[in-house]
């Protein structure tokens, strides 16, 4: 595996009184496609700029394969960046943009032509090498920026929201290409994005950040399926939240008196004691919706009765907004298996039963009183 292992150890960064990063520690493995995901202002770009060498941290250390990079200026680090705005040199052709790092090294023309050719082929731009950047489409500019950042053969590639300027379809396409390039080159990618879908679909692992802190690090499925934090659960995907007090604890599950729906059962992924105030998260697609009451309601299921408030048909799935007895709205997603035979039978205003497995609820917040 090529690429470098990166350790971010207790990095903090202050801009005046503002704490952009608070004691952030992440370990990124060799050759990993790692994403930093969070809303704007969460500190992810600042962290990337610290790794690139554009900012100095106020505290902590960043190491590449065990050696600190902080004493090195950005032009001496084996790290290259794909900028959000691409930052292509407008006075240079596509070829010269990609050749820029090699020209600085004063390589001979034939070597430069060969290597630039290779990388332009990698990003499928060899036909456009004489063009100036302002003659290129957004996706093409993006590719030039990637080729230019890769030609120095860095051990880590930093990508700062590289797809945010592209339209949705192109974004999907470029994402797949980025993934393919990552597989070909095999170096470590650190990808900054605020788009959870991008991060989840392409990363090996990701860190969810908010307010200058790392809230959870894990594989996309760990982050989505087992969110450890209220923010992580709400930022990634859609979630139903229940808040309530722990009534009693039985084995691996807890009985909870929820404000929204009365007594429900929750798997204890965090240890709780009776009297604790907790927030429980349940993904809408984990909740089933039926007209009949299921038989297993007393064995390991949480069953609630509700009335359909609204149905949003989105093609491959329907989103049901159902009102619980207390008036609280619950979101339930059901993928269409046989729309006319099954899903279309549930209509607006119907009395329905919604139910989910106890193991599908996650305690994302515990407040001890």
């Amino acid at each position: 595996m090529k690429g470098s292992q990166i350790k971010i150890e207790g990095v903090s960064k202050n801009f005046g009184d503002f704490q952009a990063l608070k004691n952030v520690s992440i370990e990124i493995k060799k050759g990993e496609f790692f994403s930093l995901l969070g809303p704007s202002g969460c500190g992810k770009t600042t962290l990337l700029r610290i790794i690139a060498g554009f900012e100095d941290p106020s505290g902590g250390d960043v190491t590449l394969d065990g050696a600190s990079v902080l004493p090195l200026p950005s032009n001496k680090r084996h790290v290259n960046t794909v900028f959000q705005s691409y930052a292509l040199f407008p006075h240079l052709s596509v070829f010269e943009n990609v050749a820029f790092p090699l020209r600085l090294k004063k390589l001979d023309n034939s070597t430069i032509a060969r290597r630039v050719g290779e990388y332009l082929q990698l990003v499928k731009l060899d036909a456009h090498k004489e063009k100036l950047p302002d003659k290129l489409s957004g996706g093409q500019k993006q590719r030039v920026a990637i080729a230019r950042a890769l030609i120095n053969e860095p051990s880590v590639l930093l990508l700062d929201e590289p797809l945010s300027a592209l339209d949705a379809k192109l974004r999907q396409h470029m994402l797949l290409e980025l993934d393919a390039i990552h597989d070909t080159i095999g170096i470590t990618f650190i990808y900054v994005t605020h788009d959870q879908e991008e991060a989840i679909s392409v990363s090996d692992r990701l860190a969810v950040m908010n307010g200058g802190e790392v809230l959870q690090v894990g594989t996309p499925s760990e982050i989505y399926e087992t969110p450890e934090d209220l923010f992580v659960a709400s930022f990634i995907g859609e979630t139903n939240f229940f808040s309530g007090t722990v009534a009693s604890v039985e084995g691996s599950s807890a009985l909870i008196d929820a404000e929204q729906c009365g007594r429900i059962r929750a798997f204890m992924d965090k240890s709780v004691a009776p009297g604790d105030h907790i927030t429980l998260a349940v993904r809408p697609e984990k909740i089933r919706i039926t007209l009949e009451r299921p038989d297993q309601c007393d064995k390991g299921l949480n069953c609630l009765s509700a009335a359909v408030d609204e149905i949003i048909y989105t093609g491959f799935l329907s989103k049901y907004f159902v009102a619980l007895r207390g008036g609280h709205t619950l979101r339930v997603f059901k993928q269409h298996v046989n729309y006319f035979a099954e899903e279309s039978k549930i209509a607006f205003g119907d009395k329905v039963h919604v139910w989910w497995d106890v193991g599908d609820g996650f305690i994302v917040e515990v407040k001890r009183l």
């Binding site: 690139a52 060498g53 960046t81 930052a87 006075h91 100036l132 120095n152």
Partner: protein, 297 residues
């Protein structure tokens, strides 16, 4: 399609330029081929005498001095204005700083030159200052030499160079410098390979705005220059008002205009060659763009 009012909009300025630029310069051109009158003015008889006088050694020396002084003044102005414009463009207080650049224009140009005489003169501030510090003993002559002319020319044209430089640097995308450093460039490589090529237009404008007026300067060499720092502007005025040789002062004016125009043309040619293809492509795309716009309208 909408009617094109372009020529109508351009009419007032076209009239103005015809009346106050084309006509006078034609008169000057015409006078340069006439005989001089005894007490000034011209005699309406064709003559090349005024041009023959140009081959005079003294005139060539003044021409050379004019070129040297204005080229040096331009280079020094550029060297001072570039970093200053960069600093202002990146400063949080750019509006205040720009304001400070413009403040000297509130005072009359001649008064500002006299201020320089008060600074550099024999009993001026600089001499008194140096004497007080004990660095010099007795008065030093700072005025009436080529250096004084260059200092005041640089002072005069600094804002004219600074403003176009500022406006291009201000539009420059500074993340390009970060990108250059990220790709392995040192700070100076980033400046020479990325910043300067991208603010080329500003640099060329600044050079033109400094060189052309400096080349034709009359007041500065007249007031702070000495016998060895005459410029063409000085002798044009002298021939016109003192010697009263109107054809000669006209022929020098024509020569000055031709020299300036030739210099600017050579300069533009260099500019075009540096980014020749870029410019042509740019022009082509602009034309296309305009056509599309007209079509849309």
């Amino acid at each position: 399609m909408r009617k094109n009012y372009g020529p109508v909009y351009a009419l007032p300025s076209a009239l103005w330029i015809s009346a106050f630029f084309v006509v006078p310069i034609s008169i000057i051109f015409m006078y340069s081929f006439l005989e001089k009158g005894l007490y000034g003015g011209v005699v309406w008889k064709f003559s090349l005498e005024a041009y023959r006088a140009l081959s005079n050694c003294a005139f060539l020396k003044v021409s050379l001095m004019t070129v040297v002084l204005s080229v040096l003044a331009t280079l020094i102005t550029l060297a001072l204005a570039l970093p200053a414009a960069y600093f202002i463009a990146r400063s949080r207080y750019k509006n205040t700083l720009l304001f400070l650049v413009i403040i000297p224009f509130w005072t009359n140009f001649l008064i500002r030159i006299y201020a320089w005489i008060a600074i550099l003169g024999n009993s001026g501030f600089l001499n008194n200052f140096l004497l007080r510090l004990g660095i010099t003993h007795g008065y030093t002559q700072f005025l009436y030499n080529p250096f004084a002319v260059i200092i005041v020319l640089v002072y005069t044209y600094l804002p004219f160079a600074l403003l176009p430089l500022y406006s291009t640097i201000e539009k420059f995308d500074f993340s390009l410098l970060e990108a250059a450093r990220d790709l392995g460039a040192t700070n100076s490589q980033a400046i020479f390979r990325v910043l300067l090529p991208n603010i080329k237009t500003g640099i060329f404008t600044a050079v033109l705005f400094t060189f052309i007026p400096a080349f034709g300067q009359y007041a500065v060499p007249q007031l702070v220059g000495g016998r060895n720092s005459f410029m063409l502007g000085t002798i044009i005025a002298r021939e016109l008002t003192v010697t009263r040789n109107w054809p000669l002062s006209s022929s020098i004016s024509v020569a000055l205009t031709v020299l300036t125009t030739a210099g600017v043309l050579v300069f533009l040619r260099i500019n075009n060659n540096l980014g020749g293809k870029t410019k042509a492509e740019h022009a082509a795309s602009t034309r296309l763009h305009l056509q599309i716009k007209q079509h849309d309208a």
